[in-house]
């Protein structure tokens, strides 16, 4: 077990732990903050997997944009700071959630172990995850989805704006 693996293991535990807190904490804002931790840890994992570009994008977009957005959302919906009791569904729902989640995890986990036991990722080939390599791949091979993605982003942007604008339609009530 080398350093990378140990680090990966630690980061993984952090990611899992903070993810667990995201879905269990009783404070809305904490959830967002734990999400930052989890996402950050995952970014670290990417780095360890030598996917540098992805890691940076993860940090920039997720931590930088998505979480900020979510925090804004929390504020705009007048989320209380502090403990709230109404974040979770009824107990039965939680049990169902746990059963489904555990079931899926177990199935996938067992199947993964069965499938990938003994396989190793050779991380010697650094450079595959570099910005240059990734960017080149995007623009050489994945132009089409990238272009389509631009439509997606634009649509999401326009959609978000039009839904958020309050200047039209109010009088139609």
């Amino acid at each position: 077990m080398n350093v990378v693996e140990v680090l990966f293991g630690l980061l993984g535990v952090v990611a899992l732990g903070s993810a667990l807190l995201v879905v269990t904490t009783r404070q809305l804002v904490h959830a967002a903050l734990w999400l930052v931790v989890a996402l950050g840890a995952i970014a670290g994992c990417y780095l360890l997997l030598s996917a540098e570009f992805v890691a940076w994008v993860q940090v920039l977009i997720y931590v930088g944009a998505v979480v900020v957005l979510l925090l804004f959302g929390l504020m705009l919906t007048r989320a209380p700071i502090g403990v709230s009791t109404d974040l979770d569904g009824p107990p039965l729902q939680k049990v169902a959630a746990a059963v489904v989640a555990l079931g899926l995890t177990a199935l996938l986990g067992v199947a993964s172990v069965e499938a990938f036991r003994g396989d190793h990722i050779g991380l010697a080939h650094t450079g595959r995850g570099s910005t240059a390599a990734t960017g080149s791949a995007v623009f050489r091979v994945w132009v089409l989805p990238f272009e389509v993605l631009s439509v997606l982003l634009l649509a999401a942007l326009v959609g978000a704006i039009v839904l958020s604008r309050r200047d039209i339609g109010e009088d139609d009530r």
Partner: protein, 495 residues
């Protein structure tokens, strides 16, 4: 849009003209809307309609051709692979998407005006979604597939919510959104697993890899099944159907029509591509699964539809049930050659599009005058509005598969053929029972058109605008034409 081509991938603009035009048009209309004076903004809708017709025209030179673009070269044993391919399947679905979108646009013209929906944004979102559907039909790798699917979905969320003052619309959008993103996440996880096992993202390469592979069966089964989820959501198959009735009901009726026809067709083409091109070697796994899904879907849809009292909600459940029929050929794919089931599903999707849009067209029209849009509002419509009532009756007869709605009958025959030919008898039987079940609510509705209205309620009476009339005319004409000459549905190029 696509200015960033490199030397590696040459782009066949003829092949991608249709989505390109539609996407460009979307942007154009958004900009135009910003600059036009409010009084003349209605023109954008007409432009959208014309643009769709133009985009459809670009498909014509492609007929009978097989074009591929955005390709990566092969190396050694690995064959070259392309992200975008135009073949018969693609063309049929692109044509279907464009025609369906055209009808939706026509139906939306009045809705946009009357509901004070911001027109520029509406047309933009609609066309953006359409461009995604067009791309989806042509995509041959899972990246493009997923991104296109999201392009279809995301604008749709916004479209549903565009009546911003309406809590029901927002609620509908939220439900659609949440179910969608969760399904997408599940699908992505599945696709990731498939990628993990095969190391490929191009559908034909996945198929090759699956053909060769052996020891990682379970994980692949999981991957394939999870991957189905995202498309299952799109086509509203049980258990991914829950959003459909609520969303249809909350959305503007034309948007519901869009979701039930264009978006669903996109889902089907995606599903078909993924399964028959990518996962073909695993047909013995996903075939029976889809058979179960199909049986569940049609049964649940029909059962729930039985008790509906509102037109749109009924159509929602009915379209769930119809999805079940469309899944039947895929469900029978576990036996025999996989590709052979495609024409049946395609034919049914085409027929369904025609008849469902026909029903939605009239429902939209009635909904303008009776916002509650309950089935009782249709009582006696034959007396006040014989033409629209007749159109609706015909569409319903088609959906029921009952003469004179031969279109639906033929479609069902086509779909039946797969399980019958392939010995999946139980599915055929379940379908037969469901067809019978379905007949009842379609006919109960159709019957209302002809029965005497209660004295207190007058059936609606209205002047039909040119756009609504055109929409009804197109769907009715198509339904009639296909009823007389259903061969067209089956004779799509190459078959």
């Amino acid at each position: 849009m696509s200015t960033l081509t490199t030397g590696v991938q040459s782009v066949d603009y003829t092949a991608i003209a249709a989505p390109l035009i539609v996407a460009g048009l979307a942007l154009l209309l958004l900009l135009l809307d910003a600059f036009l004076p409010p009084a003349r903004r209605q023109v954008t809708g007409v432009l959208a309609a014309l643009g769709l017709v133009g985009a459809a025209a670009t498909l014509v030179p492609l007929v009978g051709d097989r074009r591929q673009t955005f390709c990566v070269p092969g190396k050694g044993l690995v064959l070259p692979a392309c992200s975008y391919a135009v073949d018969d399947l693609t063309l049929v679905f692109q044509a279907l998407v464009l025609a369906g979108a055209l009808v939706v646009v026509l139906l939306s013209l009045d809705t946009v005006r009357l509901s004070r929906i911001p027109p520029g944004e509406y047309w933009f979102l609609l066309l953006a979604s359409v461009s995604g559907a067009l791309t989806l039909a042509a995509s041959r790798d899972i990246l493009t597939l997923v991104v296109s699917l999201e392009v279809v979905s995301l604008p749709a969320f916004a479209l549903v919510a565009l009546r911003r003052f309406d809590g029901r619309a927002s609620e509908a959008a939220l439900k659609l959104f949440l179910v969608s993103v969760v399904s997408t996440a599940v699908m992505l996880f599945g696709l990731a697993l498939v990628y993990g096992v095969t190391g490929a993202v191009h559908l034909d390469r996945i198929a090759t890899a699956l053909d060769a592979g052996g020891r990682r069966d379970t994980i692949l089964v999981l991957g394939v099944l999870l991957a189905i989820a995202g498309f299952g959501f799109k086509v509203a198959a049980v258990p991914f159907h829950f959003w459909a009735p609520d969303t249809y009901e909350g959305a503007p009726v034309p948007v519901a029509a869009y979701l039930s026809v264009v978006s669903k067709a996109a889902g089907f083409v995606g599903l078909a591509l993924l399964l028959t091109r990518g996962f073909a070697p695993y047909a013995d796994i996903w075939g029976p699964t889809l058979a179960v899904l199909a049986a569940l879907t049609m049964t649940v849809g029909n059962l729930a539809a039985l008790r509906q009292t509102r037109a749109v909600r009924l159509l929602a459940w009915s379209s769930v049930a119809q999805s079940g029929y469309m899944l039947v050929p895929l469900g029978a794919a576990g036996v025999g050659h996989v590709d052979d089931v495609l024409p049946a599903t395609v034919a049914y999707v085409l027929a369904y599009a025609v008849m469902n849009l026909g029903a939605f067209a009239v429902v939209t029209l009635v909904g303008r005058h009776r916002p509650a849009n309950t089935l009782e509002d249709y009582r006696g419509l034959m007396r006040t509005e014989p033409l629209t009532a007749a159109a609706l009756a015909f569409a319903l007869a088609c959906l029921a598969g009952l003469p004179p709605g031969l279109l639906g009958l033929f479609a069902k025959v086509v779909v039946f053929r797969a399980p019958v030919d392939r010995g999946v008898g139980w599915l055929a039987v379940v379908m037969a029972v469901n067809v019978a079940l379905g007949l009842f609510y379609y006919l109960a509705w159709a019957a209302r058109l002809f029965t005497r209205p209660e004295s207190a309620r007058r059936p609606p009476s209205y002047r039909i605008s040119w756009s609504d009339g055109l929409a009804i005319g197109i769907t009715l004409g198509a339904a009639l034409w296909f009823s007389v000459a259903p061969g067209v549905l089956l004779r799509w190029p190459g078959h």
